[in-house]
Each structure stands twice: as structure tokens, then as C-alpha cells.
Symmetry: C2
Subunit: 322 residues, 2 copies
């Protein structure tokens, strides 16, 4: 388990290394929702997502011997870039395992942060097995994307900063993939402002955490089809779920169209670039899925890594919002 | 003329009314340019551009009788939205004169802030004459877009906040249309940090301020063809030019392609939506037009009002940056 002390310690390690991202407000958003909305803009974090916090907190905690052997990770997304940059900043070798059909832009971005890339055929090979073997062969430590106490504590600094800036919140709304951001930030909120109601947000087709939460045990689903690629998980993590089941007030579901509308709103009114997964919690707020109380609602905008071409194809020609 | 005292007074009036916009930094941008770049993000200002500052400062300074008669403005762009919202906030009637072929989105946005819209045929009618007549008929005060001491003092608060946050700057880089933002922010910099070198930035085809500055008197050019619609002026203002000619170290010119590359860079690396005019000063920095000194460079990002469709057509399919 992870407590407030672990999150505060992560916060000290991240000072000057990760951005303290701004909390953005919008009168239009407040008028539309009848609430006071505080957006924590992790799309403006280094590497373009909150993942940098957890990766850095994990790698900086390695022993000198472990650090010189290096780290590895399997990811085609934001975790890959986060581990690559954190490793470079800490002078630590880094290998990232990526599917051979990953978008060129993601390969390039990760290589640009100085990582070695090893590709695999995701139809023929098991990435977890490959990742473990790679870590074993080279003596490298595998940095997990969410199911790890130091990674969760790092992600918890998002919630910590939000509560520090806002003082108190009636609700906290967090996108849920593997559940690390929710476990960390939810824990920060639970300790700093115990009355905060904590909501997770998943894509309609990827409701593994909602089902697990309702059943009280981990439920696996097929890999969901959704534009929110960062939330395409088939089951929650063991450690994250064991924390989140006690933190959650409810899990809200959003459609891909609601996510696209939220991305367009964030573009037009807040002038921010947000990727589909990053806009999920805003989508829940904009589509009035949070019980309206006129209260203070913290919403995590978790990332902004999306190609120009994909972004434009997702938000062009939508009906007007607002 | 406008002095630091006027700008400080504007700053007091704007407190809690305009956003104190963030100053954004990027290690990638610093590495690419060899300088420390501080971006003042006025695309995150209310109404999406710095124009709100000047409009509010002008309207709040009216007498009670003038305020109840109302204000007018002629603009199809950011000034229209700024005057409309400032008038609404101050409980003041507002009429905006717009060309009948202005984009529907701009008409809607301005109407959305509560203004009455009067359209005219821009091929057959003279907008300045119409604007003055409208102001006369209805007894309304015309709020000029730049050539006015209170408007300039309002725009100067952008430079004031940037210098307050950065402490000192070796250079300040500002997009130039009518010249109000440069006159105000340049004045703030001149008084607060006299060694700051002040650069204006114009589109290559719209170099009226550069020509005027070189000649030492106002030079008019045909209305320039450029994607930077906010900088499509054919001559500098009288008051703004009389100030800017003493402030400027140089006027730098950027091509439309350099502006588009800057917009794409801001999207990909900073996750910010910036309109063409708003990206002009960043374009000058990215294309290495500021003499490199390894110094501290303040850059004003002046606005972010651009339709999704136009934005996508401008930045899709460009060669990669950075």
C-alpha cells in the first residue's frame, strides 16, 4: 500500500525534475457544468503526460548498481517516453520494448529521449515474457507502468499538487487505465481532504475497473476498442485495484464521441492539446455525469500526446459544442 | 505617450478581471535555440487573446454616463470579442461592426459575449466612416483597437507581468500588427529592465512597421496577403509608431511557412493551440532570427483563436520540426 508519506517523499524527489503543472480554470466550463472546475494540466508535463512522475520516482529510487545496469519497459505509449527521459536524466541505460507496428512517431519520440528500442511481433510474441527475459538477460530492472508502489506514489503527486493549490475539493475525477493515477492521486485526496468524492472514468467499451469494483474482485475483459489508447487495458492492476476499491465513489463511463467533444472543447475554449485518454475525465464532466452539487471539482487532464493528423481526424467535422 | 505608471494602473484595474497568464518554458525550445525562452501565453487569456486587457482598461475608464450610452468597435477579429466581453462584464451596451462575409464562427463568438452585431459590405463601404457614424448616432464611444493610450497601457500589462515573473530579460520579442502590444509591453520592459533589446515581428508581406521604422516616418503598404490575419495592417498607428520607433532594436520578418512550423511546434511540444498571428514571435525565435547570445528571451504568444478546420489545414502535412 501507498500512503501520504510516500507521496510527499516522491514530491520532494520530483521537485525541479518534473513540472509543477498549472491548474487551469474556465468560466465557460463552470457555467456549462454549474460547478467550479479545476483542471490539472498534465498534458503540459515533461514528455506530455503524468507518466513521467512515476517513472522518475521509480528509477531515482534504484541502488547505484541497479542504475548502472539500467532499466527497461514495455510500452508503445506514454510510459515508454516517460521511462526513456527519466533514465536519461538519471544517467541510466534504457531499453524499451515496442511492438514492431507501433506508430513511427512514437518510436521516434522514444528514441529521441535516448532509449534503445527493441521491437517485437505483437501477434506472435508475448510482450510480458519478452520484457522479463530482456530484463533478465541484461540485468536490467523492469519499470512497471502502474502496479508498483513507487510508481503509484509518483502519480500521487498530481493529486497532491492539485489539493495543495485548491485547498479542498468536493470531487476528484480521474481517467483510469491500469489505475496508478487514480490510486496515487486518490490516496492524496483521501488524506488531505477526506470528504472528497473520488470518481474514476473509463471508456464505455473498457469498463474493466467498473466491473471489478462492482464485483469486488478483478474482472478481465477483452482488449477494448476505443480511441482512448492509454485506457485500453483488459484488467486493473492487483495493487492498484486493492487500493482503488476502497477509494472509489463510482466509476463513470464515457463514449468515444463524448471524448472527441471534450477534446474539441479543450481546443476551442482552453487552447490546449489533449489526447483521447487525457480528455476522458473532462468528457465525464462536460456530459454531466458527475452528480451536480455546485461544488469544487478537480479534474485530471492526464496527457497530450497525439499526432497532428490523428488529432485533426478526431475533432474535425464534429457538431459544435457548448 | 504612455508610461510605466499608466501600465501599473491598468494592472490594478485588471486584477481579478483578466487572467494572469502563465509563463511557459520548454527545454526542447531552449536546446533548439541556445537561449532561455520564456513564453507569455496570452492565448490562454480571456477571449483567447491579449486584446481583452486593452479593451477592459479603456471601457472601465469611461464615465458613468459614457458607460450607460455604451461602446462600439469595428473588428472581425480578437478586438471584437475583447470589447464585447469587457462591455458585458462592465454592464455596458455594445455594438460591433463586422464585415458581412466574416466567418460565422467569429460572428457567433462575438454575439455569444452579448454584443449587437451590425454587418457591412467591406467592398462597398468604408468601415471607419461607418464606425464613427454608428458611434455618433447612438452616442456610443468607439473603442479603438490599438491607437489609444488606455488601450496601449492595458496591453502593456503583458510585458509588466512577464518582467515581474522573469526578473530580467536580454530580449523581448513581440508580434506587431497595429503596434499596441509592442508599444505597451516594450514600454514596460524599457522601464523595468532598460537593457532589454526589443524586437518586433511582422509577416514578410506585411512589413509596414519595419519600413516605417527604417524611414523614420509612417509608410503605408497595400493590405498584405498572409495567414496571420491579426497582423494584416497596412500602416502602423500614429501613437503606437511614435512610441515604437524609440523602443525597437529591430523588426524581424517571418514567412507564412515559418509561422506554420511554429504553430506545429507549439502543438506537438507545448500542447498549446496558437493562431497564426500569435505564433509569429515564436516563429522568429525558432528560425534563429534573434541574434543568439545564450540569453534570456521573453516571447509573447499573443492569441489562440483559430477554427479547428483552419488550424488543421495549416499544420497538417508539414515536414517535421525540431
Amino acid at each position: 500500500m501507498v500512503g501520504l508519506r510516500d507521496i510527499r517523499e516522491a514530491s520532494r524527489r520530483l521537485a525541479g525534475k518534473a513540472h509543477r503543472t498549472p491548474v487551469v480554470t474556465s468560466r465557460t466550463l463552470d457555467e456549462l457544468t454549474g460547478q467550479s472546475i479545476f483542471l490539472k494540466a498534465e498534458n503540459l508535463q515533461r514528455t506530455g503526460s503524468f507518466k513521467y512522475r512515476g517513472a522518475y520516482n521509480r528509477i531515482v529510487s534504484l541502488s547505484a548498481a541497479e542504475r548502472s545496469a539500467g532499466v527497461s519497459a514495455y510500452s508503445s505509449g506514454n510510459h515508454a517516453q516517460a521511462v526513456a527521459l527519466a533514465a536519461r536524466e538519471l544517467g541510466c541505460p534504457c531499453v524499451i520494448l515496442m511492438p514492431s507496428d507501433a506508430p513511427m512517431s512514437k518510436l521516434e519520440a522514444t528514441r529521441g529521449y535516448g532509449a534503445d528500442i527493441v521491437t517485437y511481433d505483437r501477434h506472435a510474441e508475448d510482450r510480458e515474457e519478452l520484457g522479463r527475459r530482456l530484463a533478465g538477460d541484461r540485468g536490467m530492472v523492469l519499470v512497471p507502468p502502474f502496479d508498483d508502489p513507487l510508481v503509484i506514489a509518483g502519480q500521487g503527486t498530481v493529486g497532491l499538487e492539485l489539493l495543495e493549490e485548491c485547498g479542498s475539493l468536493d470531487a476528484l475525477v480521474v481517467p483510469v487505465g491500469g489505475g496508478g493515477l487514480l490510486a496515487g492521486s486518490g490516496t492524496a485526496a483521501r488524506f488531505m481532504c477526506p470528504s472528497t468524492r473520488i470518481f474514476g472514468v473509463e471508456p464505455e467499451s473498457g469498463d474493466d475497473t467498473k466491473r471489478s469494483w462492482e464485483k469486488g474482485e478483478i474482472v478481465a475483459i477483452p482488449v477494448p476498442a476505443t480511441i482512448a489508447d492509454g485506457l485500453q487495458l483488459s484488467r486493473p492492476g492487483k495493487l492498484t485495484f486493492s487500493m482503488n476499491r476502497h477509494l472509489l465513489r463510482d466509476v463513470l463511463l464515457v463514449s468515444d464521441m463524448e471524448i472527441r467533444q471534450a477534446m474539441k472543447f479543450l481546443f476551442e475554449r482552453l487552447k490546449m492539446v489533449v489526447e483521447p485518454s487525457g480528455a476522458a475525465a473532462v468528457a465525464a464532466v462536460l456530459s454531466q455525469k458527475i452528480p451536480s452539487t455546485g461544488g469544487r471539482v478537480g479534474v485530471i487532464v492526464s496527457g497530450g500526446n497525439v499526432d497532428v493528423e490523428r488529432f485533426c481526424s478526431l475533432i474535425a467535422n464534429l457538431p459544435p459544442t457548448g
